[in-house]
Amino acid sequence: MADFILRRLLHGVVVVFGVMTIVFFVTRIIGDPVQVMLPVEATEAQRDLLRGQLGLDRPILEQFLQFAGDTLTFNFGDSLWQRRPAMEIVLQRLPMTALLTAVGIGAAILLSIPLGIIAALRPDGIVDRTTVVASLAGLSMPQFWLGLLLIILFGVKLGWLPTSGARSPAHIVLPAITLALPSLARLAMVVRTAMIDELNRQYIKVVRAKGLKRIRVVGVHALRNASVPILTLSGWEIIGALAGNVVVVESIFAWPGLGLTVIQSIERQDLILLQAVVFTVAVMAVCINIALDIAHRAIDPRVSA
């Protein structure tokens, strides 16, 4: 097991480094931070001076080697925008994103399992049909639109919930719902399909013929067998939220997390900060994948290295 984790960690290091390489070159292509950082009326001499200070005037390969070395030593440099260590900003914002993802995707996972199971127990029943239709609707709604609808309904018309910022526990409700709904829809569909598959298998007939209680047949035998695809998708939903969906949701609700930081750093051409954010998200994605593999092996003992 330790051997397996070590191999996956090494693999993860390669993945993170690959991601960082891509980010480095892409950000150097899309724009010139000096243009944004200085006022329009700045002279070319002033611009060159700043470029020299930031090291942007050196050959790109030299910049890359410098960057690779810095990344390997976790030294990301100072944010161009805030003039303080980029990692400090990231670590300050990270807990808010982690909280939003945990609440939103956590709720989606916890709700999807009973919903999918109930739907699977009576295929074509009322709960099943409702779940399928609602899931399709949930999948078809873009998050930026869903978020705005929720703001109009619960923020503006009803005035029940705050729509911007993170000053009280109530502030998390709307962003969490917006983040959760599409994930809930996908997860409920997968739980339903996986459970229907398992409930139709021969071993389920056998455990039923053993006289076992229904809750044990469904909740222990069928659910454990169905849980590999459920687990895999849950992991993907967490990664998908961290690596993309939070950007949309945090922008809509002004939630002060990493997603908002990404938007801000792109607007200000803050390459250093952007690199630090991407690095952090890539590391989290790798860690979640390793956790998934470990959980997969715990569920299905047939899987071996």
């Binding site: 295929p123 021969q202 071993y203 007939k205 056998v206 053993k210 006289g211 209680k213 067998n225 047939r302």
Partner: protein, 332 residues
């Protein structure tokens, strides 16, 4: 004869599909007595497996018991789902056809047998472990103690069927339903499983219902045979009478289609035609379109003859008993 363990009374099982309701079992009446071995034979789709799945309460969705009753020692299994659940896995148990897929792949075999003991006998811990080992040794799993924590995929098909039988026997049942228990196995393994069933029946006094299309297996194991065709029992007889003098033309056809060793014909006899579509059964006797003895009478459903004598047949024109050849009396 002692009171029957299991009585199936005019059982109808139907599947509701988009094309309408299809009856897979159309009024089956059958008794199983303590200690006897009853064979239920018929082609695929004759309703033999579905009948037994109804007894175990595991008919595939969207199938359901439409009417009739199933009684265990006089008590209806259909009346109370909770009571039936307590009986299943304890007094009535089933061994299925496909041993390869019958065990949950994620749980060690010891755990899966232990579930039955915990559910029906309240046994846990060391007492359960001892009983599991005893069961595995009973069915001939070598080195059982070391293999309690093995997963199903670590066993061969024959071994898995032995484990299935051990699991079925865990709570000391009175009736074992074996649904084609050897079909999915190699021939040599088949013989071992049959020997095991015979040994267990004799040792434990089990009643067995053997669902099969293998007439050889029936001849070897069974006391009594019920022949099913298109959802009905067409003939019930003790095994000697059935093989010696089949009364229903379908039974006679089945027996003619089965070669005897040492007497291999050039060509095997077959029953002309194919089984009827259950959603479009002919009126009257379902076998009449394939039956060499059918005539205009057969358009009307035949009654079950002599249902009380232990030998009964569902046919207007049963085969005559074979004429025993006697030396002719000389007429001068």
């Amino acid at each position: 004869m002692s009171a029957p363990l299991l009585e199936i009374d005019d059982l109808v099982v139907s599947f509701t599909t988009r094309r309408g309701r299809i009856q897979a079992v159309r009024g089956v009446t059958l008794q199983v007595h303590p200690g006897e071995t009853l064979g239920v034979v018929g082609e695929s789709g004759s309703g033999k497996s579905v009948t037994m799945q109804a007894v175990m309460g595991v008919v595939d969705s969207p199938g359901a018991v439409e009417s009739g009753d199933i009684r265990w020692r006089g008590k209806s299994l259909l009346a109370s789902a909770v009571e039936a659940e307590d009986l299943r896995g304890r007094d009535i148990v089933m061994v299925f056809q496909d041993a390869m897929t019958s065990l949950d792949p994620l749980f060690p075999i010891g755990t899966q047998i232990g579930e039955v003991l915990a559910r029906h006998r309240g046994l846990k811990g060391p007492a359960a472990r001892a009983r599991i080992l005893e069961l595995l040794e009973l069915v001939g799993i070598p080195n059982a103690a070391a293999r309690l924590n093995y997963l199903p995929h670590q066993f061969s098909g024959g071994m898995r069927q032995r484990i299935m039988i051990a699991m079925a026997l865990a709570a000391d049942p009175s009736l074992l339903v074996a649904d084609e228990p050897t079909t999915a196995l190699d021939v040599t393994i088949q013989a071992q499983i049959v020997d095991l069933l015979i040994e267990l029946r004799d040792r434990l006094g089990l009643a067995i219902v053997l669902v099969t299309h293998d007439l050889g297996l029936v001849a070897e194991l069974c006391d009594r045979v019920a022949v099913m065709y298109a959802g009905r029992i067409v003939e019930v007889a003790d095994v000697w009478s059935l093989f010696a003098a089949p009364a229903h033309p379908y039974t006679a056809g089945l027996l003619r289609a089965t070669p005897a060793i040492g007497d291999l014909p050039e060509r095997l006899d077959t029953i002309e035609g194919s089984p009827p579509d259950p959603s479009d059964l002919p009126a009257g006797c379902a076998f009449r379109l394939r039956c060499p003895r059918a005539d205009a009478t057969c358009v009307v459903e035949p009654p079950m003859s002599h249902p009380d004598t232990g030998r009964s047949v569902l046919c207007w024109h049963p085969e005559p008993p074979p004429v025993t050849t006697r030396p002719e009396t000389a007429h001068v």
